[in-house]
Point group: D2
Chain length 345, copies 4
């Protein structure tokens, strides 16, 4: 079937990393237990625990990111609580109300290039605490952030540590959405490792769908028992995979020989080459993202012209009349793809 | 990794039918749109429409069965309505309260070998209608059944038509859970075809996970628009697959050259051979299932002894002190597997 | 306005006990804090604590019974849990799915004359515990019963103690719906006092609406903190009364000089006279209720004839072809009302 | 019991208008049907229909405002929709997440003195419509506003007509929260009558709790059938009053001889006298409210001093370091109360 030549619309346009397919093929006719109770899922868990330096971690494989967010947030919040998130956070803006559908308010706070600041978390919690009407108001019950953010930016280790402190002070858990975590881990500018994340977060997920897998996200609770009866909760939310081993085999492959970080590294390297060319040719970026997503600020004519040659994602109409378009690379982006794009710019 | 020799615990213990893996491999590096808007998903939809003789059908690919049930039922019911189901129906008994979690009551009615009768549907609706307090009671808002049922039994075409009539009379939709639909379609005893199902049901799903796919269920609304904004509803429930094409490719393969029905046929044929051997050796079946599941009624000692040799599924402790164990075959069950099982009996 | 002469359809047909209205009138123009933080609510709480011999009890005033049930059950259950109740229990049958609407399954168990048995609670919990698939099944998370029951019958103290033990063994809370608790407390056959109930239950409510108040139910948690942030939870569920003092004044009156139990006593005494007359005249009772509700089993002609003279409540069509009609008395039923009814029989 | 002398903390500190209590007393021992099916509720409905010039209107009596909002909004929205509201709207800020608890997102838009503008409603809807990702985003499904607003300000008739047009263009219903509607109707500055509101809104509620009743809000659907099965939905949400007639009698009294508007007029007149005195004495108002609420902007010392003499409501800490305190009058505020307050200023 035909596809557009220069296709940079998203990082989930291909299938899986060939190594993952190879392993699925290799193990295809083995018989294993269902629901993630199989040996491959166990092996993947062991490797993820090792990569996170979190030997006790409880790990569940879910199918997708919105699902992982809704199930984890629903499992960690009590009914009277809401979740603090950037006003541009994925759960606040682009999940069709999945969090509210499970009964909880998203408490939006301001953001800068997609990132929230510990000071704003503290202010949100303090405002609630000092409000004479606080018993009539949703209690901030956890903090959600994503790494990289919705705009491809990264939290530094220091920033994560500060947000972690704000959460500890408030007595609420910190949850990190790692839909594209490989692209953070594989980014030269990144200084927050998987063990850092496991040390600083109460829950997070390691994204598979956008980082080389056919589908699948690994939800990690560094301290076991953080979300009681999580298996049943995933079942209840329709998030339990009968053939859990298909996710297990994939994560087992991703966490063998550093494939996961490598998938991110390769995507970011491709984006870096594109960024350099864009700068050289005078294109303007809407956000200084260092990872695999590039947000171009184009005037409408420019946007239309470039869209003839390159499939990008429409992001938003900026208040200044310009259009923001997203270019995304993935583990599958080849040097030839990048060359062609640069030629088209 | 090691697995038990004779493994008949379920029909989701292997990966995917080799033809599916072949197609995933073949298409792996193509770039397509996300969220099921790709050419493979479209091709799969066209083939399913043809197989169902439902040229207008609206089709969505979801990841799993509990998810499909909860999303479809939640989309079809209004807040004041509940869903009629066999007291042993999957949604009533084995989905961890997924339907209630989305706000609706399951209205259990009696069953025989897992099947409900049109007369009982009519009685349930009439009881509500004639109840002076009906405005204080959950209104029966749809009917759920599965084909094959939880006990592997089949509705005849006449029975489905009668239940359809009961639903029409009541003005409520009929929904069919086809987690193992291939095993109905591939069963010699079956007389209800896919076009029959599409004609008689307002919604149904064609199960992939237990019928040859890695994962995935195809939700079919024979009349488009039956569930408005269903795309957004699936997103909100965490059921929208980013790489929707992975499900699309699988269903495209399943509905090419009759693979889907063949997968069922082969599983049922294996089960038939086992059933014949069981009968010959004097084993008792708890339910006369003609499909790929066999429910053995064993005394506890017998159950323990057989479990040494064969991995089965514990089903239930019967009131008569006997134990019900399930033997399940799949598209992947080989003649050698069956021979070995028969030898072990 | 005209009303039928002999009106025994329910126990919520009149306004409030005159003493309550007197107190509302007397305090009407005083200014107090809202949301139940006023002196009258505090005074009512103190009197209820004393009456319950539960000096630490946390007490909230809600508007109605279905609301109280849904809010308390929603507050005590975790997402993966359901509530055990008699299949005829109010929450199972007559609350329009309020419990399911808040995300939880009602787990029905068999009943006798509206009562559940400790043995069946134990069986329900054990069945879940011993089920190999229990992680796929709703966990029994609390027990609901009502005193008197839906059929006006009473649990003896011994029965309540046994159910309490079953709950302790299971580690789950016991909740008692006391919509008509005054009629239990005021019944000669009753041997379970308010202090017994406070000692044996983790939560219960003392019904006002059907026991002399304009509206209002007092939710009691004998141990404070049983349901964290309950104030906010009631607000979130729309159950927080802005003028909480209106409920407070009413319960303050009901728990002054024994008015609450007296309201029940008087209703039951009226019902006892009716029961004696019914027995004498050969009427058959469907259930041997000793409280303020009488369930007559009538043949359809008899039902129609009696309905000409007496307004009763239709209850149900019995399987034997007879009709069950309910006669209810209240604190407001006068000896003359009873005389007239007896004459009409 | 003792209360502070000068008490202006809220407009729900007293009981009911004496005329209401008189009618409750007068009708107390009559027997009527439950659940709002009685003659008094019918009479109140007839009078409200007349006052609204909406002869077909469907009217339900609920207990409180948060409840009315949650039940009506939940009944009008479909699962994929959210409700547009001022970011300061009661449902957005002060209802403990009641709307989210019922599964829907509040879509906040900017406000000026508590009011939203039709242009912003149009922008919100257009943004959704033109968003390429709109199927991943909550659809704006209705508009919520309150009259008076959270800050006591009023929409003019022209503004309401403009917002109505915006809703018609978008094809979504307009809902008006009239918790203090009497204070709008009784305000000299108001030009939107009850018939205007009934003509322009798809649903609204006429507040009783804050306008003279013990409790109760009259939900009005000018076109019957706007919210199907609303009776059952209120039952399911715990909002159905068993003794519905108690609300009926109150609204019957409120809509006899213009009592409702008079209750508002008298409260606003008292507030007007206070406003004049405040202006004269150089106090600053945070918001130019013309109704029964006055929002004073005080420096912290001033706030502390005045609080010694007058019980006000803390509203918020303003960004400029000043404190906003609310003074509220009610139908029960006497000229002597006002004199004493003015003397204390």
């Amino acid at each position: 079937m035909e596809t557009k030549k220069l296709c940079f619309a998203s990082d989930y346009m291909e299938g899986a990393h060939p190594e993952i397919l190879r392993r699925l093929l290799e193990t295809n006719l083995e018989k294993t237990a269902g629901y993630g109770l199989d040996e491959y899922s166990e092996s993947a868990r062991a490797k993820i625990r090792a990569a996170c330096a979190a030997p006790e971690a409880e790990i569940h494989f879910l199918a997708g990111g919105t699902q992982a967010n809704a199930v984890v947030i629903g499992a960690l919040l009590r009914p009277w609580q809401g979740v603090i998130a950037a006003e541009t956070g994925h759960i606040a803006a682009h999940e069709a109300g999945a969090i509210e559908c499970s009964g909880h308010k998203v408490l939006p706070i301001r953001q800068h290039h997609g990132k929230i600041a510990a000071a704003d978390v503290r202010r949100c919690v303090d405002d609630w605490r000092r409000d004479g009407n606080r018993d009539h108001i949703v209690m901030p019950g956890m903090v959600y952030l994503s790494q990289p953010t919705e705009y491809g930016t990264l939290y530094s280790l220091a920033e994560l540590e500060d947000i972690n402190r704000a959460c500890r002070e408030a007595g609420i858990p910190l949850y990190l959405d790692g839909a594209r975590l490989a692209c953070a881990l594989g980014c030269p500018a990144n200084d927050a490792t998987l063990p850092d994340i496991a040390r600083l977060c109460d829950a997070f997920y390691i994204g598979g769908t956008k980082c080389g897998a056919l589908f699948g996200e690994a939800v990690v609770f560094p301290k076991p028992g953080t979300a009681p009866h999580f298996f049943t909760v995933t079942k209840q939310r329709g998030a339990l995979l009968a053939k859990g081993r298909i996710a297990g085999v994939q994560f087992d492959a991703l966490f063998t020989d550093g494939l996961y970080a490598e998938a991110g590294r390769s995507a970011v390297a491709a984006a870096d080459r594109i960024r350099a060319a864009l700068a050289e040719k005078g294109y303007r970026q809407a956000v200084p993202s260092p990872t695999n997503q590039i947000f171009l600020s184009l005037d409408p004519d420019q946007a239309a012209a470039l869209s003839q040659k390159v499939e990008m994602s429409f992001w938003e109409n900026a208040p200044d009349g310009r259009v923001v378009m997203r270019i995304a690379t993935s583990w599958a982006t080849t040097p030839a793809d990048v060359d062609a794009l640069i030629a088209a710019l």
